[in-house]
């Protein structure tokens, strides 16, 4: 990488003021393709046709640069390629391949830009282009931000079409016929006389064909795979216990390990006594680690038992010790000095509210753990040849950087295999657990080590979704919402997270206000201000990031105002809405839920909307009062993804997002006492169970003109739709999550 890349590596410029600078840094190299990561290393029997397509005697392998964490990334990447390459769906093989800058994610930076997804002006376009440049220069190979589909949509179809064109050209040379006489079908080039030349045989010749650029893509009307239900490639393995996750990794002679470190984040380790642990059956070694110790043993349970037997002397946390003190620190950020952004400022809010506010309210959301069901785990193996890491990760290249720093090894002697994850929800955007596995492997050179966290370690060492506070005011006039002023204070996820990656984000953190400032509404006097609270607990991206809490603030405040105006929540939102795809999802959810139709006594509906990650999503939640408490009876969600690539997976993701949003809204919170989270397992940090799960109806629309990802956008509207339904059913406004602190759920 050139000088420009080095500059960008440490200064991650994401503010309006720095966009112009982006031209100077990056434009020159945007057109320079990266070399193929595997080109020089592959055995002769394997032919790489593009950075994504390998062909050998067994068939086609797709390198999938985005990691599988349950969202269906592997299958959708394969489908995009297979569609253009014309290979049979069930014959395509996938491999995460080596982490490499060529596999940068061009779409990941878009959400951090201070331009709304609905903004199609030239400045927004320039900023998005700049985001792609930064991502490319830095080789940001990251899975997250619902960006897999937007990033891969053109790139992998292009890869398939390019490889296909090369195979056709090779066949034309061999057969002595014109390329336009040839077709492709099921992994073969087919000649006019029906002779099929398998790709497996053509590939070595195709390699010598000049690689064409910008090959034409199929008309979507001709798609045979995309847009239709397809069986996930991993579905049989995941239904038979044969799928292998990081926690299932195994190698001959492997040792098992676990760790315990200070649950008071940032706190010192004053010392520990491992004399009991060291004498326990199966224990190989107790290893001091930053903040605690690891136990290497011959079995995971023995390692966990021994770790439990270590007596630690841990110092206090580096952050305020209690929930109250943590919220006080956020509440203290509503000052001019701490103002981080005011990206929405329409009309004259000050003047409108000078005549008196109809609603003044404060809302709060808690810290939340990711708690994927597979706890953090990583395999590391240090030998004379180098270091091998096998782990589920959303940031493979950063993990290699970390391992290189810890071992002093050059990066080309570190191999990382990215494994399927048993959930992540943003947790594996951190490499802390991989670092621990590397440190453990260092003390047993030659022996592979698999480290597995206990659930308790996982819950208390998360980088949670930050707590946040919002203060809202508004005014209604003539039965309409005339003014809405929302101020949100939260610690910066971007600063906390990127700081750990060695990056330095400048400018406003849009995560503090995303899902609130960027909504397509024409409220006459409308302002959203972000305040940056101090970093206390280290925080990170949690499924749907800032929008996860901000939609609760924005949509509950809006609902309060609509009720104060005496208007209908759906009609008033439609009236204010300025964006056609957003109107369409509101109308769809109204139709699906039969909005406005009478419900039985004690039942009511609530509505919420949020545009996040470029996807407008509207949800209606229907609650019923029962003798045992409030029951979430039904939920309806409509979202616009621009283009549906796999209807089954979209439905599954939409169900999952609604359940994630509702489940946490009901009862989840990380609370702090004595400097540490009070929740350690699923008994005190509850997730939605099947008995609480409502009937869920979903619809994916294709009104918008840009293809989008659906992993996150159905999360934000769920909590406010539920809170608004509770108000409609009971008259009670709950302005603080989790909701079960104030209402009993059945």
């Amino acid at each position: 990488m050139g000088k420009g890349a080095k500059i960008a590596r440490r200064t991650f410029l994401l503010g309006t003021a720095t966009v112009a600078g982006g031209f100077a840094v990056g434009w020159y190299s945007l057109e320079q393709p990266y070399a193929f990561p595997l080109a020089d290393e592959l055995p002769r029997a394997i032919t790489p046709l593009t950075a994504y397509v390998l062909v050998d005697a067994r068939g086609v392998t797709l390198i999938t640069p985005r990691a599988e964490m349950g969202q269906g990334a592997t299958s959708v990447q394969a489908a995009l390629l297979a569609e253009e390459l014309d290979v049979a769906w069930d014959e395509i093989r996938t491999d995460p391949g080596p982490p490499a800058p060529a596999y940068y994610n061009a779409a990941i930076v878009a959400e951090g830009m201070p331009f709304a997804a609905t903004d199609d002006g030239w400045q927004a376009g320039v900023a998005r282009g700049f985001g792609k440049t930064v991502s490319k220069l830095m080789g940001l190979q990251i899975t997250g931000g619902s960006s897999t589909v937007p990033d891969a949509y053109d790139r992998l179809r292009q890869a398939g079409a390019t490889a296909r064109a090369m195979l056709v050209a090779a066949a034309a040379n061999r057969l002595g016929v014109a390329e336009d006489q040839l077709t492709t079908r099921a992994g073969a080039v087919v000649a006019p006389d029906g002779t099929a030349l398998p790709y497996t045989e053509l590939a070595p010749y195709a390699r010598r064909v000049p690689r064409p650029r910008n090959v034409a893509l199929k008309d979507p009307a001709d798609w045979r795979l995309l847009g239709k239900p397809m069986q996930r490639l991993d579905i049989v393995a995941k239904s038979t216990g044969t799928a292998r996750y990081g926690i299932d990794e195994w190698a001959k002679g492997m040792l098992h390990a676990t760790v315990r470190t200070n649950p008071r984040r940032g706190g010192e380790l004053n010392g520990f006594d491992a004399s009991t642990a060291e004498a326990m059956r199966g224990v190989v070694k107790v290893v001091p680690l930053p903040g605690g110790a690891g136990v290497i043993a011959d079995n995971t349970w023995r390692a966990m038992q021994a770790a439990q037997a270590i007596e630690f002397d841990w110092g206090p946390a580096a952050h305020p010790a209690t929930t109250q003190a943590l919220f006080d620190s956020i509440a203290g950020a509503f000052t001019d000095d701490a103002q981080d952004s005011r990206l929405k400022d329409d009309g004259d809010v000050e003047q409108a509210l000078a005549q008196g506010a109809d609603i003044t309210a404060e809302y709060r959301v808690p810290f939340l753990a990711h708690a994927p069901l597979e706890p953090m785990t990583a395999f590391a193996w240090l030998t004379d040849r180098g270091l091998e890491i096998r782990a589920g990760t959303q940031i493979p290249r950063f993990a290699i950087d970390t391992a290189a720093e810890l071992t002093g090894l050059p990066k080309d002697r570190i191999v990382l295999s990215a494994l399927p994850m048993g959930g992540s929800f943003g947790r594996r955007l951190e490499d802390d657990f991989i670092a621990q596995a590397v440190l453990l492997a260092r003390v047993v050179p030659g022996r592979p080590v698999k480290m597995t966290w206990t659930r308790e370690e996982d819950m208390t060492h998360d980088f949670p979704r930050p707590a946040a506070i919002a203060r809202g005011q508004g005014r209604v006039e003539g039965g309409r919402v005339a003014a809405l002023d929302l101020s949100i204070a939260a610690p910066s996820v971007s600063a906390s997270q990127m700081g750990r990656l060695g990056l330095n984000p400048l400018g406003a953190d849009t995560a503090i206000v995303n899902g609130a400032w960027d909504q397509p509404l024409a409220i006459p006097h409308y302002r959203v201000t972000g305040y940056r609270a101090p970093e206390t607990v280290p925080v990170s991206s949690w499924r749907s990031v800032g929008a996860s809490g901000n939609a609760f603030f924005h949509e509950c405040l809006l609902d309060e105002l609509i009720h104060a105006a005496g208007a209908d929540p759906l009609e008033e939102r439609l009236r204010q809405c300025t964006h056609a795809p957003s109107r369409a999802v509101l109308e769809a959810v109204g139709e699906m839920s039969n909005w406005g139709s009478p419900l039985p006594e004690g039942a009511a509906r609530g509505l919420a909307f949020c545009l996040s990650f470029g996807v407008p999503c509207a949800e209606v939640v229907e609650v019923r009062q029962t003798p045992r408490g409030l029951r979430i009876a039904r939920a309806f969600a409509a979202a616009d993804v621009g283009r549906v690539l796999d209807p089954v997976n979209i439905e599954n993701q939409m169900h999952g997002g609604v359940i994630w949003g509702l489940g946490h809204a009901i009862g989840a919170a990380l609370t702090y006492a004595d400097g540490r989270p009070e929740q350690e397992n699923f008994d005190t940090y509850p997730a939605m169970r099947i008995t609480e799960c409502p009937e869920i109806m979903v619809r994916a629309l294709e009104t918008g003109d840009t293809v989008r990802g659906i992993g996150e956008p159905t999360v934000p509207p769920a909590a406010p739709a539920l809170a608004n339904a509770i108000f409609a059913a009971t008259g009670q406004r709950i302005r603080q999550m989790p909701l079960d602190r104030e209402v009993r759920f059945a």
């Binding site: 393995a237 038979t240 044969t242 926690i247 992540s424 929800f425 699923f682 008994d683 008995t691």
Partner: protein, 152 residues
């Protein structure tokens, strides 16, 4: 200590208080059974002991009295159990990590209650947590499996 796992008798030297989960995963290499919480809170570790669904993370191996069936013994990719076939048909899994446990619980339910009501399905699967939110498909897959099994 003698155990019968998926029809095979096994003799292992292990302390009796080790949970069955870790015997299966770390000593027998049967990794289809998952660790999620270690406290019988999530159900990812569910196996059958004598046909009864049990959370193996809280079951000392010394207390196991009866043959053990794990997800690997229920069915295979080539010859899936009807519950697994229904899981594949409905494309239940997202991350898939909890699904071994879900399937084992569902299979035990259907062995006992061939035509469960919606509420019986929910009550049986209460203890199996899914963080991805696949519950609607789980519910549908259990119904399909029940129907297929009754049709024989």
């Amino acid at each position: 200590m003698k155990l019968t796992v998926n029809g095979t008798e096994i003799d292992i030297d292990v302390e009796p208080d080790m949970p069955l989960l870790w015997v299966l995963r770390d000593m027998l290499g049967l990794t289809g059974t998952k660790y999620g919480c270690g406290a019988a809170q999530c159900g990812a570790c569910t196996v059958h002991v004598d046909g009864v669904a049990m959370q193996s993370c809280q079951l000392p191996v010394g207390d196991v009295a009866g043959p053990i069936t794990t997800i690997e013994g229920l069915g295979t990719p080539d010859a899936p159990h009807p519950v697994q076939a229904a899981w594949i048909e409905h494309q239940v899994a997202q991350c898939g990590y909890c699904q071994s446990g879900q399937i084992m619980t569902a299979a035990a339910l259907l062995a006992e209650t061939p035509a469960p009501t919606d509420d019986q399905i929910k009550d049986a699967l209460w203890g199996n947590l899914c963080r991805c939110g696949t519950y609607p498909r789980i519910q549908a897959a259990v119904k399909t499996a029940a129907q297929k099994m009754q049709e024989g």
